[in-house]
Symmetry: C2
């Protein structure tokens, strides 16, 4: 059973919408990297039962993203914030080398700090 | 029945997770501003049925936000982007008045455009 890297990401977003049992199983598999047999032992169900539970949870996460698209939107924002960070650092560097204007230092630092905060 | 302004906002986020019928009813009420009686006529159900359907849909939207918190997160990002926009405009203004450095113009414009794009 191939691991879908996208699933880990969606799990962070939509995991809270799964049942507690589903979340337990899929987190063992994706976050803790347990094998199907290990999860089966922990949960007291069959290996096939684990496989089915993971498949169902994966389908639900993908369906939620298909409907809501919030993970995609979040990724776009993260990409934009990286670009903003880069530009604010270029401004700071230029100002510190050639201009020495406190206004520029202050405003570019404000941008840098805000973008960093939102990136977390 | 008091309208909860928060609901319109959550509807944009999580509306796609409601059933089609639920979405129809709650959108009539919140987006199109129809009365309960008008919606009842459109849907061929009782006024009380409409009221119950809206209450259930509201509860589901609030529950999703309670679990996922993505609307709150999105609002934070929007607030941060406004701050970034303001700072980038202050840099542009200062540069155009006193410094005239193409690098600053370019990088601050890049920040402004990115923040505007992400705010939409």
């Amino acid at each position: 059973m191939a691991k879908n890297l996208e699933i880990s990401f969606l799990l962070d977003f939509y995991g809270e919408m799964l049942t507690q049992k589903q979340r337990e199983v899929i987190e063992y598999y994706y976050n803790d990297d347990l094998s199907l047999s290990e999860i089966a032992d922990n949960e007291g169900i069959t290996r096939q039962g684990v496989r089915d539970a993971i498949k169902r949870a994966e389908a639900q996460l993908l369906e939620m993203e298909e409907r809501l698209g919030l993970a995609r939107r979040f990724r776009e924002v993260q990409g934009g914030l990286e670009e903003i960070l880069e530009a604010s650092r270029a401004i700071l560097e230029y100002n510190r080398k050639y201009v020495y204007a406190p206004v520029l230092e202050q405003q570019a630092t404000r941008i840098e700090e805000t973008a960093e905060r939102l990136s977390r």
